[in-house]
Symmetry: C2
């Protein structure tokens, strides 16, 4: 198999873990479940397959210092700093350009920095299968998750009916993709899950760098047009300036929408390895262990007649009396008290803070 | 009428308003309801009847600076510092000694520093009546509150059946006292309230300084024995030392238990002036105004789908989502989240903190 690179997309400025996640310190850098930040754990997950010098992290200016700090073993030049976030297609185009330059045949895995995978071994097995398909077939391969409930927060991937001789890996859970579907309504999600041929879109992709760059040229010619001079400048002193100029002209577009939905040779490998995009405090609550009263307590917490709460005391002493089913997140300057099941509203709180220009709290 | 002095007892180190009240900053110094601290409002309440130079505050070493700060108009020598808290009898004996020395006929009003009275005008009317009875009859007079419910957190005072000619003020709500009752059980409290001849003990007393000192001599001879040298030393350089020695020998005892229950000439004036001893966060919640969703919000608070909460954000930003009937008190180093109706448990939390010697949080 060709050399494998990993591209960790760590540019997000998520708002759903407020008040712990902030503009300058987003979710991927937080230790949310267990030990290690989500970024640290994501990088470590690929280590058995990918060398540190083939590991790339794409991030933005504000956060590149935190990446350096959390991943000191990654060569500094592998931390690719985007001048502005432009969604996943430009990010992937940039990383693929670097990787192809080092090795024209390189395989690459693209992964968000802020997901949780609990069964790393099974994940690596699936990943190897995806790499094999990507290499053998010059294909774009995604990893799909067997849906356990009609989630409305994920995109879905519909698999295609096809003959085994057209897809010898079908028995191993490798499917040709029929369509990508955006985040559905609850009714649609229920239909998807019942149909049995829809998977959750994990946002993890596998392909050759050369393949994805070819597909970008085909389906996103304007992005390709900006990538060409950029590719020419990698390693030269003009790179920062060319990068800045290119990003000024590149439009924001996702790889799903810009390439995957349009490309022909797209496969999905079905996986079941304890994946979660931990998209909300409620999801964290579901992932962490609880004590005999159903509480998950972090830091100095005093409990009286209180059960089924998730409490992160930060640097404070928190006393909780007579309360149930609360998510309590205490930080140095802000505090969230949220009924379990309503943490999707945290986003609205952050929007409100932004509208009111209470910027210290963003 | 003789000159009137006020004695504000501000020595308490209450624990029931944790985390806002602390060892070094107890309840009486907090702005809990409306504007002004409880101490400031208590002093102001007596101002129409009592001159600043006749206003005394009894406190302890740790808190005398805060008293100075909150009541700068009171002569520094009127801030009487007890070496240790020894309950109300020694505190009152000490203050009465100072007052009698300035004016042998002085009347004095004794009041806790940490109560709320909403109708000051009516309170002053009742107080004048109490002063009149105390002066005319050389009596010990207490102010009793018409009970509105069978509270178990207050002491009760039982009034006596008697003929009008033995008590010409009876029609005005002045009664001879039959007994004092300690904080009752709920069943007893219900019986008290139903009987119609029990009042809540407000802890506000009115008498001549000379009368209470005479009664202390009679019923608390050991306290009297320590007060005598103390009285001789007031105004002399030996006073601090004599005070220290005296308090080393004085036992802790309340004026109710030590004197009022034993004395013969005790009256109670029934009042109805919006009194509360604000003994818990729940009581504060009942006293403060609410918005149309039933929330009382102090500081920077963002609310979504949350009603009937009391939230004091301190210096933080607090976001509350989907929660009802909570008391949330955020301070720089500690946080209380308490279901309404359970704030009596705050005391237990503070006891726990004390047992664990987490002294920074006391």
């Amino acid at each position: 198999m060709s050399q494998i690179s990993a591209v960790i997309m760590a540019g997000g400025v998520g708002t759903r873990f407020w008040p712990r996640s902030r503009r300058r310190f987003p979710k991927q850098f937080l230790e949310i479940v267990g030990s290690g930040s989500l970024l640290e754990n994501t990088i470590a997950r690929f280590a058995p397959l990918v060398d540190a010098r083939n590991t790339f992290v794409v991030t933005d200016k504000m956060q590149s210092d935190i990446v350096n700090q959390q991943a000191p073993f990654i060569p500094p030049e592998n931390i690719l700093v985007e001048p502005f976030g432009r969604n996943t297609a430009p990010c992937i185009g940039l990383a693929a350009s670097w990787i192809r330059r080092l090795d024209p045949d390189a395989l690459m895995v693209v992964s968000p920095a802020d997901h949780i995978i609990r069964n790393n071994e099974e994940f690596l097995r699936i990943l190897r299968l995806a790499l094999q398909v990507a290499e053998e077939r010059d294909a774009l391969v995604t990893i799909g998750i067997n849906p356990t409930h009609p989630a409305t927060g994920y995109g879905y991937i519909q698999t295609m009916e096809e003959e085994l001789d057209r897809n010898p890996h079908r028995a191993e859970g490798v499917y040709r993709v029929k369509t990508f579907a955006e985040k559905p309504t609850l009714e649609t999600a229920e239909r998807f899950v019942q149909s049995g041929d829809f998977l959750w879109n994990s946002g993890i992709f596998v392909w050759k760098a050369s393949t994805i760059l070819k597909e970008i040229e085909l389906h996103l010619p304007d992005l390709h047009e900006q990538l060409v001079p950029l590719q020419g400048s990698i390693g030269s002193p003009t790179y920062p300036q060319v990068l800045e100029q290119a990003y000024g002209l590149i439009r924001s577009i996702s790889i799903d929408y810009g390439v995957m939905e349009k490309a022909g040779n797209v496969f999905v490998v079905k996986g079941d390895f304890g994946w979660s995009d931990v998209g909300s405090w409620d999801e964290v609550v579901r992932l962490v262990p609880t004590d005999s009263e159903g509480n998950s307590l972090k830091g100095k917490v005093i409990i009286r007649n209180a059960s089924d709460n998730y409490i992160d005391a930060g640097n404070k002493l928190v006393a909780a009396i007579g309360v149930q089913d609360l998510i309590i997140i205490s930080t140095d300057d802000a505090l969230l008290i949220c009924k379990k099941g309503e943490s999707q509203e945290v986003k609205e709180v952050v929007d409100f803070i932004r509208r009111k220009q209470m910027n210290d709290y963003l």
